[in-house]
C-alpha cells in the first residue's frame, strides 16, 4: 500500500514538473515550420492505416488460396 502511494506521489510530481517544463518534443515538432509536420503526420497515418488494411486483406486472400 505504501509503495503504491509513494508511486502515485512520484507520478504526480513527474506530471507537475512536465507542465512547467519547456515545450515537449511533440509541441516543438508540431508547431515548427508553419505546422507542416501535422500534415506529414496525417498523411503518414492514412498511408499506415490503408497499409494495415491491405496487409489483412492479403492474409485473407492467402487463406482463401489455401482452402481452394
Amino acid at each position: 500500500m505504501r509503495t503504491l502511494l509513494s508511486f502515485f506521489l512520484l507520478l504526480s510530481t513527474i506530471v507537475a514538473n512536465a507542465q512547467n517544463a519547456a515545450p515537449s518534443w511533440l509541441e516543438s515538432t508540431l508547431y515548427g515550420s508553419g505546422k507542416i509536420n501535422v500534415v506529414v503526420g496525417v498523411v503518414a497515418i492514412i498511408i499506415l492505416g490503408i497499409g494495415i488494411w491491405l496487409w489483412r486483406m492479403d492474409r485473407r486472400i492467402s487463406n482463401l488460396e489455401r482452402k481452394s
Binding site: 501535422v38 500534415v39 487463406n63
Partner: protein, 330 residues
Amino acid sequence: MKNWWKFLGIGLLLLASIAALRIPLAPALVHVSPDRIAPGTTDITITGYNTAFTSGALVKLVNEEQQVCATSVSVLDASHLTARFEVPAGMKANLTDVSVDDLIYTGALFTEGLGAGITSAVCPETYPAPASFTFPNRSILYESIRNLHFHVPMWFTMIVLMGISVFQSIKVLGNNSLDNDLAAEMAARIGLVFCVLGLITGALWARATWGAFWTNDVKLNGAAVTGLIYVAYLVLRGSVQDAHKRARLAAIYNIFAFMLLVLFLFVVPRLNAIDSLHPGNGGNSGFNDLDMDNSLRSIFYPAVLGWILVGCWMYDLRVRAARLANNLDR
C-alpha cells in the same frame, strides 16, 4: 471498361493530394515585435510568412482613422524587416494594425498614447499583389490547413460507405437476401476503417491547433459515438447464430445506426445551443464563404470524390473476398 471508376478514383486522389501538398500558402504577417509602443522613435520588427519583402516596402500603423507611415524600412530578408516610426504623442491608446504593402496584421500592437487622436498622415498608395493560386494563411492553422484535403475526406467516405450499408440493409428487409446482408456488413467494416483514420488524423490535428488530442467538442464525441454504434453493429451480428435471423436483426439495427449517424454528425453539432470548434458548426451552416476559400474547394471536392471511389473499391474487394470465402465453405 467497367473499371473506369477505379482509375478515376486513383487519378483524382493523386492530383488532389499533390495539389494539397504543393500549393503555397498565401503570404501573411505572422509576428510583430514589440507588442506595445510608446510615443517617440520606435523600431518595429515584422516577420512574414511566404512573403517577398523588398526594400521599397510601404509599412504603416493603422489605428482606426489614424495612420502613421514608417520613416525608414530596412529589409533583412524576404520575410523579415525592421521599420522605424516616429510615433506621435497624440495617438489614441488602442490596438493598432500593422501593414506591409497590401498585407495587414490586425491588432498587432498596442499604442500607449493618451492623446485624443492625430490627423492621419497620408502614406503612399499600395497596390495589391497580383493574384496567385494560394491556400488561405490563417493564424493557428498555418500549413495544417492542408489537412482539410486528407482528414475531412475520411469522414465523407465513411458516411458514403455507411449509406451503402444501410441501402443494402433495406434491401435485406425486402428480399431476405444473405448476399445483401453480406454487402451491408462489409460496407460497415470498411466504413469503420475510415472512421478510425478520421479519428486518429483528427486527434493529431487537434493537438496542433486546439492544444489537446481530444477535446469535448460535440462533433468529436458524436463521431466517436457513431463509431461505437457501428462496432456494436458488428458485435450484434456476431452474437446471432442463425443466418436469416441475423440478417433481419442486423438490417433493422443498421437503419437505426444510420439515423443516429445523421443525428450525431449533422444535427447535434449544428444546434445553436452547443458550440463546436469545428468550422460550420454551432449555429452556422457549413461551407459558407467564411469557412472555405474557393482555392481550397477546388482541391477539396476532387479529393473527397477520389477518397470515396477508393473506399468503394476497398468495399468491392472485401465483398468479393467474403463471397469467395462463403462459396469455399459450402
